[in-house]
């Protein structure tokens, strides 16, 4: 109907691409929210200079090495340290005191991209003297993104913003004590990394792999359709011990999901739910 918008990928084209990614490589994007996915494909066509959709599809079919880049660009890997500082403030004040009573603290950061959130949490645990008895599982479907977590290196240009976020989250120290600046990069303290377990995990196709007391999955569900959201939330329910906590993104909600009745949102309305049943 609106064929003048030639830059946009058409529904039939997107279907062809998703079918190819699934059949040849096992990546299932079919229940991703389509509006966002179409933008990612259009964007990839521009930055990698494909003159037509057919050329893009041909490349995917002929060049398995291109797949890594494709997956990297189809998924959104934008994240930051202490994003939505109020959430981290609430974790400091209301969640950590409860976790402190546990002999061992197992945390899962699902779909954590390049790991800024994992480092933020490690800093919180360190300041509460809980890091020594914690393990932070950091997973993403994108192997390139999680590689960065092992390095613990982030752009120095972001540190001003992160430092402000850290203070707003209730941080009392000089944020720069957690990293060493090298050229354009900030290398974070290896002590933080020592408690992280990094692995690829695809929320669409992989199962629960452990039981956690706290699960983070922020700004991941927005890229899924309702069906997939419900599946993933059920996976989190299965992976969370009773009275454990689930943290979602600032515009994500449990409200209309099948697991909603088992969870209770914290009083201050931050997007943190406790598994009460």
């Amino acid at each position: 109907m609106h064929d003048k918008m030639e830059n946009s990928v058409k529904d039939e084209e997107l279907d062809l691409l998703l079918d190819e990614l699934f059949r040849s490589y096992g990546y299932d994007f079919t229940n991703y929210a389509r509006a966002s996915l179409k933008r990612r494909v259009s964007r990839l066509m521009i930055i990698d200079r494909f003159p037509s959709f057919a050329e893009l599809l041909y490349r995917v079919r002929q060049d398995p090495a291109y797949l890594t880049r494709m997956v990297e660009e189809l998924t959104v890997n934008v994240t930051e340290m202490f994003r939505d500082p109020q959430v981290f403030k609430t974790i400091r004040e209301e969640v950590l005191p409860i976790l402190a009573t546990h002999p061992f603290i197992r945390i899962w950061h699902a779909g954590c991209a390049t790991g800024e959130e994992v480092y933020s949490m490690a800093i919180l645990l360190d300041e509460a003297n809980l890091l020594h008895k914690s393990l932070l599982y950091a997973t993403d479907l994108n192997p390139t993104a999680i590689e960065n977590i092992r390095k613990g290196v982030f752009p120095i240009s972001e540190m001003k913003q992160y430092s402000e976020n850290y203070i707003l989250s209730g941080g009392k120290h000089d944020f720069s004590k957690y990293y060493t600046a090298k050229y354009n990069w900030a290398k974070f303290d290896d002590r933080l990394k020592a408690k992280m377990i990094v692995a690829t995990h695809n929320l669409v196709s992989d199962r629960s792999f452990n039981e956690f007391v706290l699960i983070f999955c922020r700004n991941v569900l927005i890229y899924f359709d309702k069906y997939l959201q419900d599946n993933v939330l059920t996976l989190f329910d299965d992976s969370l011990e009773k009275l454990g906590f689930l943290v979602l993104g600032s515009k994500e909600n449990l409200r209309f999901s099948p697991i909603a009745r088992k969870f209770k949102q914290l009083e201050n309305r931050e997007r943190i739910w406790r598994k009460v049943m």
Partner: protein
């Protein structure tokens, strides 16, 4: 103008940046009888999780005003605000979705992103309004709306507080009308009848 008894327009998308708030408030106040139309407001602003903009707009209208949540249903007679730090997309005529990907024109939400997405979904049933601002965001989006057969309104750059943004759109595409900021609300009220 719409022919027949019912307006053919089902959604109005309004984009603004520096100096646009006054016009937005006037538009919101003028269109409260348009209960068969959904409105979306995209304004460049800081990340803060406050509700000041929602409260301000609510004070002008009897229509429901709310910030969009992920996968929220699109209902007529409602004024939706793009939440800070997310791009606002439309999955189809019934559902919004959000996207936290890279900024566009240094902006998230970006007006271009929502305009393009709405143009794809609503085509000729869409009205796009681009207001005052110091940024090129929205120009390509307004062109997308025009190309898909929708109705386009640009604020008169000469009298806008910051004329750059609507001027970029006017340079890029033939907009349907160019109006003074204070007249857009009244014009929309007639257009949507």
């Amino acid at each position: 103008m719409a022919e027949g008894d019912v307006s053919k327009y089902r959604m109005v998308v309004i984009g603004g940046s520096a100096g646009s708030l006054d016009s937005i408030l006037k538009i919101v106040a003028a269109v409260q009888e348009a209960v068969d139309v959904a409105f979306v407001v995209i304004v460049h602003r800081g990340k803060g999780g406050d509700s000041i903009l929602t409260d301000l707009l609510s004070s002008q209208t009897t229509l429901v005003v709310k910030e969009v949540e992920d996968k929220e249903l699109i209902l007529p007679g409602t004024i939706y605000i793009a939440p800070p730090d997310y791009h606002l997309l439309l999955e189809n005529e019934y559902t919004f979705s959000l996207d936290a990907s890279e900024k566009v024109h240094y902006s998230r939400p970006s007006i271009d992103v929502t305009f393009e997405s709405a143009a794809l979904v609503y085509g000729p049933a869409l009205v796009g309004v681009l207001l005052s601002g110091a940024n090129a965001d929205g120009a390509v989006g307004l062109k997308n709306i025009a190309d898909a057969g929708g109705f386009t309104i640009a604020q008169q750059p000469a009298t806008a507080e910051v004329g750059y943004m609507p001027q970029q759109a006017i340079n890029l595409t033939k907009v349907s009308v160019i109006l003074e900021g204070e007249d857009i609300g009244i014009f929309l009220r007639t257009l949507l009848k």
